[in-house]
Symmetry: C2
Subunit: 266 residues, 2 copies
């Protein structure tokens, strides 16, 4: 029961998605990239035809997946809006753009959002990847849900509002924690200490939340109320004023959280 699919965009998401769909028995009709060599490269991998002009998009696919930058979604949707007249199903892979972008052009549309951080060079583990699906009609939702299930075991029906919450929290857990790692990496490099020493700690911290509410396993000077250590750290960080401000803000946040939880427990 393979579908005919056209993938518009060959960045990190389009690149891995097209290949996974192809490997899972769907037929990729066309892949689009503004860069002809990128389109040709991906097309070759998934036995599709590569196009670099949206005017060349054909009617042969059942589903059109837009894996492009958020700020191009509106304009590309308008450019291919003729597909709506043929009752084609369209979906985008963005975490933050509302499905309403399709509203005036398509009768059947939705969201096909893989919640993961993609790198072109690294293979994506679709077994671990949560797919967030939304369809504007029960039938559209059903089609996208089944399509997602055919390439990945963890599929969730998520409406626009829930998706925007997942997106902001994804930024917090992924981009922001990576920023913290970057700060630590920077300081270690600067002070000639190996950042590698910290890696097992980073892994263990993440393993803990697989089984626990993060707030229940919070450790460190702030949670212990160890103000001497906090003062020592803040003093050390005076060489790094931005990091010092962040240290202060998060420590205050942890202390506040502990107090609030203590009140709730009463």
């Amino acid at each position: 029961m393979g579908l005919k699919i056209t993938v518009i965009g060959s960045g990190n998401v389009g690149f891995h998605l097209a290949q996974r769909l192809h490997e899972s028995g769907h037929r990729i009709c066309q892949v689009f990239s503004r860069t002809p060599t990128k389109a040709a490269h991906l097309a070759n991998l998934v036995k599709a035809s590569g196009i670099s002009n949206l005017k060349d998009i054909s009617l042969e696919a059942d589903v059109y997946l837009l894996a492009i930058k958020d700020d191009s979604l509106k304009i590309v949707t308008e450019e291919i809006s003729f597909l709506g007249k043929y009752n084609k199903l369209i979906a985008h892979t963005s975490g933050s753009v509302s499905s309403a972008v399709f509203e005036n052009h398509f009768g059947r549309y939705g969201i096909f959002y893989p919640l993961q951080t993609f790198s072109t060079t690294k293979k994506v583990d679709f077994e671990q990847l949560p797919f967030c699906i939304y369809g504007n009609t029960p039938a559209a939702q059903d089609s996208l849900f089944q399509l997602a299930q055919s390439i990945c075991p963890n599929v969730y029906a998520i409406n626009d509002e829930q998706r925007s919450i997942l997106h902001v929290t994804a930024v917090i857990v992924n981009n922001f924690s990576n920023y913290l790692y970057g700060i630590a990496h920077d300081i270690c490099k600067d002070q000639d200490v190996s950042f590698d020493i910290l890696k097992p700690l980073i892994h263990e911290t993440v393993r803990k939340i697989d089984v626990s509410n993060p707030q229940d396993v919070q450790t460190g000077p702030a949670v212990r109320g160890d103000l001497d250590t906090i003062a020592k750290h803040i003093d050390f960080l005076k060489k790094y004023p931005d990091h010092q401000a962040l240290y202060q803000l998060i420590s205050t946040g942890i202390i506040k959280q502990i107090k609030e939880r203590a009140l709730l427990d009463k």
Copy 2:
């Protein structure tokens, strides 16, 4: 070549350390806890005698390991300073207290600092755990280094200054990233979205830095300069003013970092 060791403290660190030393062929002479039942419980596990009064500390051990709270280190060191007269080797397991705490009482002393987050209920993976060692003399350093190597493969010679840098960066990568997970958990719960959907993303973020400098793999709206999404997220977070301030500060930090890196590349 097992050593005779006395472990002072039976909290998270002392509890796991005593057992690992015992299992690795060392003889644990005594374990100390202020709470007699805790001392007896751990002593029983490692075939030692449990004591709850520091006056009962015997001279039979070669090495005395202090696994106690930072703010008790000074006073406990004074209480057992008579051991210094017998040329005993002493070390503490703290990430932040200077080895100078031992200076006036002991001739041979050092640091035996396992850089990891410990929970009493969870088995510690000593194969993954980095041990940071310091000795005030080459011989003391050597003894502590060998002792650490006998229970764990990753041992680093780290002086007081380097250790304080590792401690502040450990707080940043562990306690602070866990705080970010807690924020996301809170928002998800509040808005009725499953936090579980975010877990694969959290794991992937951490896997990336095993092979990359975190700053090289930074993703998200701030790094893309996607100010619309940042504004949308900040607007959403007005229900959570503390989290909003943090979102703003970290996004500003990421944008600044990108600009600085762009300048460096020129």
